[in-house]
């Protein structure tokens, strides 16, 4: 059987393409052509598996594009796998340019530009926060600062970085100054009170075929040194159904045909669901592992397979798992150059820890998933999980 030549644009370490040594790309049906970077992009790469490799500077799109265009033309590439959010638009640009299937340029822009994203979601009849484009510092003067606090954030930011919560015009101007040279690509949003949720979905042929919804235990933008963060999944009830429906309408509105999405939304004290943002990639921070523990579904593998043009079968037992324990991730942020130790191995079982994922972060966190330690935790129900979250914070010396 001839194999499909697939271009893999991997901005992560090479190990990202494997799960405990098992390749996420089936080599019996896919012939991979790897485009990566010199900082771990080829760590322990087996040239038998990946005989065609290009390594270049991933801070220079022109280098990536030159190599990608060459490989697509020369090797008859049929699909592009690009799991990292920062290269989503670049990969989509190449698909559109070469007539390849998958996420196209116009849709990819909707998944990256938080202003165009909200406009598309609003057009689908979903509630979004009021928002304003922030191109010049003078734009801040036109806003009504007596009507509650606001969020200033990058139009193209990832991982909760470049997010400022401000109450006054003066604070907003200060945030603009702090943002520095990137300030021209910011937006202002109405601050939404409420609990945040994330929804991780698998989309195939334009239909959401798998959904996992989780409640954040803190807001992603609130990461601080020595802090704690996490989420726990919810699996039933009216709120769950409403969140799933909201997610389906949003990702469909943005034109997702096949892939994995990670959407964030607010549930307000007035019982309203309000859109926050959505990405066309698996959730980070360990969310993928928590979902795998809960449902037996690997969303990273799903993203890779679907972008490669392969099917991603959802195991039949996934639906049954809703009756089992709840799962989530818990991350501990660094609090200095020598962060505290991980939870001792012998203590982990009693705390419901099924997996430990070293984060390696030091000093201060740079984004919401920049952890020193990560744990995948199970509990009988949400209440029991919240207890374990508090216990883990206490044992780690982390503050809420």
């Amino acid at each position: 059987m001839s194999r499909k030549p697939v271009l893999v644009i991997n901005a992560a370490k090479h190990g990202f393409m494997f799960e405990e040594g098992r390749t996420l790309l089936p080599f019996d049906s896919v012939e991979p052509y790897l485009l990566t970077h010199p900082y771990g992009g080829a760590d322990q790469l087996d040239p038998q598996q990946y005989p065609h490799v290009a390594v270049c500077n991933f801070h220079k799109n022109e280098e990536i594009l030159a190599a990608a265009r060459w490989m697509i033309s020369e090797y008859g590439i049929t699909a592009i796998v690009a799991p990292h959010e920062k290269y989503l638009v670049l990969a989509a640009q190449l698909r559109t340019e070469f007539g390849l299937p998958g996420l196209q340029y116009e849709s990819a822009v909707l998944f990256r530009d938080k202003i165009k994203m909200k406009q598309a979601v609003q057009a689908a009849g979903l509630r979004i926060p009021a928002f304003w484009s922030l191109d010049r510092v003078e734009d801040l003067d036109a806003l009504d600062w007596s009507r509650g606090s606001k969020i200033i954030k990058s139009r193209f930011g990832v991982g909760g970085s470049d997010v400022y919560h401000v109450d006054t015009l003066e604070a907003a101007r200060e945030a603009w100054q702090t943002a520095g040279p990137d300030a021209g690509q910011f937006e202002v949003e109405e601050f939404i009170h409420g609990t945040m949720y994330h929804v991780d979905a698998i989309v195939s042929q334009g239909e959401v075929v798998f959904t996992s919804a989780s409640r954040y235990l803190a807001k992603p933008g609130d990461f601080t040194p020595g802090g704690i963060f996490g989420s726990v999944n919810i699996r039933s009830g009216d709120l769950f159904e409403r969140i799933c429906d909201f997610n389906s309408r949003a990702v469909t509105a943005l034109g997702m045909e096949g892939g994995v999405t990670h959407l964030e939304l607010f549930h307000t004290p007035e019982d309203e669901l309000v859109f926050c943002e959505v990405a066309a990639r698996p959730g980070g921070a360990g969310i993928d592992r928590a979902i795998d523990q809960c449902f037996g579904v690997n969303i990273v593998e799903a993203a890779v397979r679907l972008e490669a043009g392969l099917q991603m079968p959802i195991p039949s037992h996934a639906a049954d798992r809703v009756k089992g324990p709840v799962w989530g991730f818990i991350g501990i942020y660094p609090d200095g150059p020598e962060p505290g130790p991980a939870i001792e191995l012998e203590q982990r079982s009693s705390m419901g820890i099924a997996e430990y994922l070293p984060g390696g972060a030091k000093n201060a966190p740079r984004h919401c998933s920049d952890f020193t330690h990560r744990y995948i935790v199970g509990a009988a129900d949400e209440t029991a999980f919240d207890e374990r979250y508090r216990a883990l914070a206490e044992a780690s010396g982390a503050h809420f």
Partner: protein, 257 residues
């Protein structure tokens, strides 16, 4: 504010092993490594460097150079492997870079096809002469005599059992040969034997000798031929023109004769 720091020159290295890459890197260059598909990758990588799997024997190599290498603005394309010299010359020709040129490769091929007798077995060679050319001036760097009692292939010994007269005559002979090849710059390796006081050249290559021979020459002369071969197209790591000229005062008088 602009930086006063000049960008690190980019050197394209076709083929070679990780040790060669390290040597090229030590010249102060950022490398663009080209390796055949299926070759190791990790061992060649250093921060801010590039690597591409490419079959440089293939018909599409020139398109690759034009599409991928040209935008990287390399200062030179080099190789120490015989199988990639044509690719080096083709890339230099396409990119307008100094170094090995297609005219030399074409002359070299013509010479070989005209002198089938040169393509004798390497086993016949008793001596290996390493020369280095700068702007058409050829310098004898060292002659290594292969030890007939060697237990391992390539084991060699110095000094050679040749007289000064032999060396002078040989230098002239090889220089004439290299002039015929239109070699303007770079390394060359000539293998020969001496039969009844007659020097018989058995093989000429436009690369430095094998690494173990280079090591012997380095130990004896202090000249790192691999480093010279890598650096000369950029003006790094090679001898000055006048230095080369003084070593072979007579050789070039015969050029073109």
């Amino acid at each position: 504010m602009t930086s006063d720091t000049a960008p690190t020159p980019r050197l394209v290295v076709i083929g070679g092993d990780p040790a060669l890459a390290a040597s090229a890197r030590s010249l102060g260059c950022s490398l663009v490594n080209l390796q055949l598909p299926g070759s190791p990758v990790e061992e060649y990588l250093a921060p801010d460097e590039n690597y591409y799997s490419i079959d440089w024997h293939g018909a599409s190599f020139k398109r690759f150079v034009d599409a991928v290498i040209r935008p990287l603005n390399p200062v030179a394309v080099v190789s120490l492997g015989e199988d990639s010299l044509t690719a080096v010359a083709a890339a230099n020709d396409l990119l307008g870079l100094p170094g090995l040129q297609l005219t030399t490769i074409n002359a070299f091929d013509a010479l070989y096809s005209a002198h089938d007798s040169m393509a004798v077995s390497q086993d016949d060679a008793r001596f290996t002469a390493a020369m280095f050319t700068v702007e058409g001036t050829h310098r004898m760097i060292g002659i290594v005599e292969h030890d007939p009692d060697a237990r391992t292939p390539g084991q060699v010994s110095l000094p050679v059992s040749l007289t000064d007269e032999h060396v002078d005559a040989l230098t002239k002979q090889i220089s004439t040969l290299l002039n015929g090849l239109k070699l303007q710059d770079g390394p060359s390796t000539t293998e020969f034997r001496v039969d009844l006081n007659q020097t018989v050249v058995t093989r000429v290559r436009l690369v430095p000798p094998a690494r173990d021979l280079c090591a012997v020459i380095h130990a004896e002369t202090g000249i790192d031929l691999e480093r010279w071969a890598l650096g000369w197209p950029m003006g790094l790591g090679g001898p000055a023109v006048d230095e080369a000229a003084t070593t072979t005062p007579d050789a070039n008088e015969e050029a073109g004769q």
